[in-house]
Symmetry: none
Subunit: 212 residues, 4 copies
């Protein structure tokens, strides 16, 4: 079977002989009854910050959107393709999830791109440049802080981006309504790749701290 | 720490005392040196089909985009927000991944939505309706096949959707160029939630079969 | 003995029957031979951040200056009273310390005062207002970051203040010369009152992180 | 973690595994509720006379200013940087401390400097020389006492310095007013480094004696 990357095939064989055996009944049940995840995670594509690992999740637990820098664009019912908004609609209206967690992380390349004023886009389409305009005003504000180190500015914007996404989530009328009715809760969290620590956002203040 | 869903916190504690301990050196290295994943996975948000589980992946191995029905919109350099295209640009131009895998799966709710002609959208924004228009011509064609069962039509569209995304990937000039130069390879795969089996696409014929 | 606060007298009696007994020989030696501390600590007055506790220090180990917000004013040989500069001169020229550590901490009232634009000073002398003008430009910059929470702004300025003090230390010609000759090293650290964690500054980047 | 003095890191680790564990709840509470120390201590930088050790203090008990020879300059609302006066304002007006203790000690290098007529300052800035001019008239008077030994003259000036600082404290209008209203009490004490004894000042006579 050379027509597939070997590391992936090897990993898949380990899955089949290991985790799948443990979870066989669960997979059967999830196939028969459908998925009923209680949580939508909006996470980054970064290979080091996969939410299933961080939350040691079992199959069926997390409905996961992953895009660059875990962003939620504002509500724009304009008839364009909105992948993140479609996933949000599916989770909230279709699956009736109880929780939405925006999961950011340290050393995020998307955040770094938002903070950099690169003259040359990565490709002529400049999709990252456009995607990160969602963060531009905040990035410019952070960049004016010449007394903060580059790493401090990066961490600051990573956390602002989480709060930003949470604010944008609330621009979706159904999210706002469900939250008001107590059917849906919104959370923010930030994962430190190096130490493995999860920092959880305080919903009142917006600050992040490690759970005890 | 009551301000965070208990199952997630419990899972995180298991991660910290288990997997993180095993992978500590790797996390430190990934933090210091940055991520160097060789593979971009375009997968579905479905809670039962997380690629890290299916491929038993270690942190740092897979750069993962997840949206409803693992779709890639066609190349549209129009200045709008394109989350999937931004992630693609990041993976191909920034990280220089060697492989792109489009990973579909059985019993996909997004595919099911594309096949249904629901009169009522899930929300007034109808983001899923719009998102799945990417599959509409194929869905209509499949639906005309009155001799196929509902399950067969579903599986058929799931696989069509993978090939569709692969075709759209090749509308991005940099993807097409890198593939032509042999620097980048494109793969399709389909995960059967019930049996745990991975079906891999034959790049020449487009057919899916289980690896030996 | 009512002419002295009872808690202090009680504490002193505990010292005499406990720690002093353990350290008797050391106190005798320190009295006979004089102090030879290797480290000058510039710390805050805050009752929660005493450096002897944080560093579990024995008598004779730390020469300690404590003022509001652990600040070092710039070199001003102007004939005025400069308490911090006098202590610095004593430590560097008199005691030939090898290390200077600027120790900041979380939830610092002095930093908070620098960030607040209180219309009324605490007293007509407005000594805090004047003292914290040393931080005003940085505080104003931080305050413009409306996307950062109050706590994030506070932490940012706490760390800037440490770097600021370290920069001002280097305006003293003898400090700069001794550092250049390798006789003296400068360090920054930040103490988290709640978690008890010490974050140490990286001298190259200015960033703070927990030692492993 | 080589970028920090090893003795300090070792001490910090002992703190974290020892004292911090005992005081964890207290640190948490002090972080949440803020500091409420009842006592401001004005002490010397000397490494052998740290007030937390002498008074066996717990975190949160003592708000501590430390400068060379535990001095308080007179009230000078002149717009200059006054570190000690800023700390005094913070303690009295901000924290509403009930007690101020000026803590001197034996074998004080700053007192010794005030008694010596050294022709050469320690550095061109001569900050100690200027700082100790606060004690010059008293030092000159003591030095004329040729019948006292050098040690006696030193002890005499150490105690004069404590009374001097207490006198200067009362030049601050808010200190004087709070003392008159019975809201604030001023104390003097002197610590004998060799014997570990605390000598407490009698507020009426100015004499120092050991508590029973």
């Amino acid at each position: 079977m050379e027509a597939f990357p070997k590391p992936l095939l090897d990993g898949y064989k380990n899955f089949m002989s290991g985790r799948y055996v443990e979870e066989r009944d669960r997979y059967h049940q999830l196939a028969e009854e459908g998925q009923k995840p209680e949580t939508l995670i909006i996470a980054c594509c970064d290979s080091r910050a996969g939410p299933e690992l961080v939350f040691n999740a079992r199959p069926g637990e997390l409905f996961v959107v992953r895009n660059v820098a875990n962003m939620v664009p504002p509500y724009e019912p304009d008839g364009q393709y909105h992948g993140t908004s479609a996933a949000l609609e599916f989770a909230v209206e279709g699956l009736k999830v109880k929780n939405i967690v925006v999961l950011g992380h340290g050393r995020c390349g998307g955040i770094n791109a938002a903070l950099s004023s690169v003259s040359e886009p990565l490709s002529p389409g400049d999709f990252i440049g456009k995607w990160t305009t969602l963060l531009k005003p905040a990035a410019e504000q952070v960049n004016k802080n010449s007394n903060m180190t580059a790493t401090e500015r990066q961490t600051a914007l990573e956390r602002i981006s989480i709060r930003n996404s949470m604010g944008n989530l609330r621009t979706f009328p159904n999210v706002a309504a469900a939250e008001k009715q107590g059917k849906l809760k919104l959370y923010g969290a930030w994962f430190d790749i190096s130490s493995g620590e999860l920092w959880v956002m305080n919903n009142k203040t917006g600050d992040f701290r490690r759970p005890d």
